[in-house]
Amino acid sequence: MPRKIAGRLAAAWITLVVIAVVVFVGVELMPGDACTAHLGRDAARAEMLTACRDRMGLDRPPVERFALWAADLAHGDLGVSMKRERPILGIVGPRARNTLILAGAAALAGVPLAILLGFLCGLRREGPFDIVTSTVALVAMTMPEFVVASLLILIFAIWLGWSTGVVTAAYDAPALTLLLATPLPAITLALVYIAHILRMVRSSVIDTVGADFVLMARMKGVPERRIVLRHILPNAILPSISLIGLTLAWLLSGVVIVESVFNYPGIGRLAVNAVADRDLPLIQAIALLFGLFYVLTTLVSDLVAMALNPRLRSLRG
């Protein structure tokens, strides 16, 4: 067991290093650089371009720049944003908090709901509740986030006036202010992944209901309530745990679009701006952070699955 956990941790570490290299190379391959993006038409003025490249250290070879960045990173220093001319940690920090608030709100409200709905659909397979819920879920799965976002704003902000349209709170607003601004973006995020989890739970419930041990329990005369709660539920949820982990990781990448459309001051909106500004150190930091979220959530869901499923805990596995 400890060896297995150590293995997972090492794999996570290597994944992060690979992400850092891929991101750096990807940005290098794009035409132009931070200075041409920054100066626009002024880039045609050689002296301005040279001064800018000199100031930002872009005149050094790429390998040297990457090495310098990696060395700083090892000391916990994410570097300085080219565009904003401020330390990246201070820029990314409050926005990462805001994204966690949004994703957290979406997950806390959505995951239990998804499991409950999927479970009910699976138990009453082909019943009217299942048919309606599954159809709605299918539609929700196929709608792009920006369509859902615009529809929600149209209905709840413009027609009904129950909510504000986009978020006008600043990135450094108190956590509670941001939480109060999250309903529409959180629903947008939640709709898609609720549908995914719901369908997964539903089909594993259907599988479990037909399993031999459930039939056996019934023949033994175990009360139906106990069958559902003690036999079907734990066995049906196990295969969904890693999917829920992946979905939570996806939540954090889904925020890029949702945050932009709702003007939510999180890491996703920052990512879009950083790419537009071609702010290389900032892009690298954000990509690394996204990678970290992904790796951590899959790691945690793997560990939870291990803890719940005795078969995965075996030393041989």
Partner: protein, 493 residues
């Protein structure tokens, strides 16, 4: 802040909300076009223009006809050679910090343009200022290195704002101006708040507060406008439909100076032939092209002039489509079977690719075979512009004298078509030393006619600017941003 404290704050805010209704707050968006590096220094390359326009004043501002009219300067006169300008200032003007505005502040603000550490783009416009002398508290003498009869026009530049003497090093963070609003809090990526300046020399503004919220995404800005979270937004033609026929909004369109063009490098074959260049430009029906691009009433058709439609120095020439003449010119130039053109464009700005496609279709009947080459938007200004023999270009609004000198004078650093004609340069020089505006106008029009006759840049139209206002906004005329008199803008519920 603890949770309890946050609850208290919330309760306090709820209590404050009642009296706050009496306050008139104009809500605006900051599109973060400088990515959070927005500076309140008016001369900075990253100037936070929308805020600066409300907190600082210029010496001169345009009247509704676009002509220079007094703002902090009450009058200006020049010597016969247009090299020495005497400017008289408005008395009784105070800065936001309570100090009095005087000639020393003007001298400081104008000299600062040349400060090399600022890298200010304004130095290319007003670098001709040699020195500024303080004659008395309310009089300055501006001495130019080269004659320029259009100095008042140059001073209309939206970045030439008056700041207190010596305030340069701190102005970007602690702005002090003479404008109708002063900055209460400043955070380009969050919220920037301006409050009415009680001591504004033209009278206290009608609105109490202006709030700028960072909304970088244009779709999000439209949603904010639709749900009445902001009062003012500029929109593209395609986005107009979102607001049309809705009583909650007012739509405005107004002549503006932005344009797309196609640059044919006059020093590169086959475009080094004036006949080829002319053929390429007269083969197009410009009205049709404008209709396809921005709608029949979405702009003003022009004849390869970069000057905005309502500029006093704009040349109104005639340039109808003439396919036969285009064919004949091509044959004369040695292309009897038509000509192949490789045109580079990019989706750098919405419409830049479509512009090339419409041109391609328009010139085909004249035997001009256009192959469109798509370049990445990243690095377009660096790798394609001023390099490719034929490429699509895009320019923002500039005054007549400025754009003609920046983009067509021999050897100018942004001379994208490599146009070099001593006669054209001489016309510009002569215009600059002609103090009589009527005579100067004749010279500027002759210069634009030269561009139509033999220039390398095809400019079919200038697109109008468009803005959406919420229904409660009053006092904003359908004119460009720097025409707005912010102290007269009001909100009615």
């Amino acid at each position: 802040m603890t949770f309890a404290q946050q609850l208290m704050t919330l309760a306090a805010l709820a209590l404050l909300a009642a009296p706050a209704q009496a306050e008139k707050v104009l809500n605006r968006a900051n599109d973060l076009s400088f990515g959070g590096a927005e500076s309140l220094d008016p001369l900075s390359p990253n100037r936070f223009y929308e805020v600066n326009d409300m907190i600082y004043s210029r010496l001169v501002r345009q009247n509704d006809a676009g002509e220079p009219s007094p703002e902090l300067a009450t009058s200006w006169t020049s010597n016969a050679g247009a090299t020495e300008w005497t400017v008289t200032l408005q008395p009784g003007v105070t800065f936001h910090d309570g100090s009095t505005f005087d000639a020393a502040d003007v001298a400081y603000s104008l000299r600062r343009i040349e400060d090399p550490t600022l890298e200010s783009p304004v130095s290319s416009v007003l670098g001709i200022i040699g020195r500024v002398e303080v004659k008395d508290d309310l009089t300055v003498k501006i001495v130019l290195e080269t004659p320029h009869a259009g100095l008042p026009l140059l001073l209309l530049d939206y970045r030439v704002r008056m700041i207190p003497e010596g305030s340069g090093p701190t102005i970007g963070q602690t702005p002090i101006g003479t404008g109708p609003f002063r900055v209460e809090s400043y955070d380009p990526e969050g919220t920037t708040t301006l409050v009415a300046f009680d001591g504004y020399w033209e009278g206290r503004p009608l609105i109490d507060r202006v709030q700028f919220t960072a909304i970088p995404d244009s779709e999000a800005r439209n949603q904010a406008m639709l749900s009445r979270q902001i009062d003012l937004n500029s929109v593209t033609r395609d986005q107009l439909a979102l607001f049309k026929d809705n009583p909650a909004f007012q739509l405005q369109s107004f002549p503006a100076g932005g344009w797309f063009g196609i640059v044919f490098r006059t020093d590169t074959a086959p475009y080094d032939s004036a006949k080829v260049r002319r053929a390429l430009r007269i083969a197009v029906n410009r009205q049709d092209m404008m209709t396809l691009m921005v709608g029949a009433d979405g702009g003003t058709v022009g004849c390869d002039t970069p000057v905005r439609a309502d500029d006093p120095y704009r040349a109104d020439l005639d340039c109808p489509q003439d396919v036969d003449a285009a064919r004949a010119l091509l044959a004369e130039a040695g292309f009897p079977d038509g000509i192949d053109v490789e045109l580079t464009t990019s989706d750098l700005e919405p419409g830049m690719v479509r512009f090339a496609e419409v041109f391609q279709a328009q010139v085909a009947p004249a035997g001009i075979r256009v192959a469109i080459k798509l370049a990445p938007s990243d690095g377009y200004w660096d790798d394609v512009w001023m390099v490719a023999p034929a490429s699509v270009t895009s320019w923002g609004e500039r005054p007549a004298d400025q754009i003609l000198n920046e983009a067509w004078r021999s050897g100018a650093s942004w001379n994208e078509s490599a146009y070099a004609n001593p006669a054209f340069d001489a016309l510009l020089d002569q215009a600059r030393s002609t103090l009589d505006p009527v005579a100067a106008r004749v010279l500027y029009i002759q210069a634009q006619a030269l561009l139509l006759a033999e220039g390398g840049t095809f400019i079919p139209y200038q697109e109008d600017g468009r803005r959406v206002l919420s229904a409660r906004v009053r006092g904003i005329k359908p004119l460009g941003e720097d025409y707005i008199r912010w102290h007269l803008v009001d909100l009615v519920e």
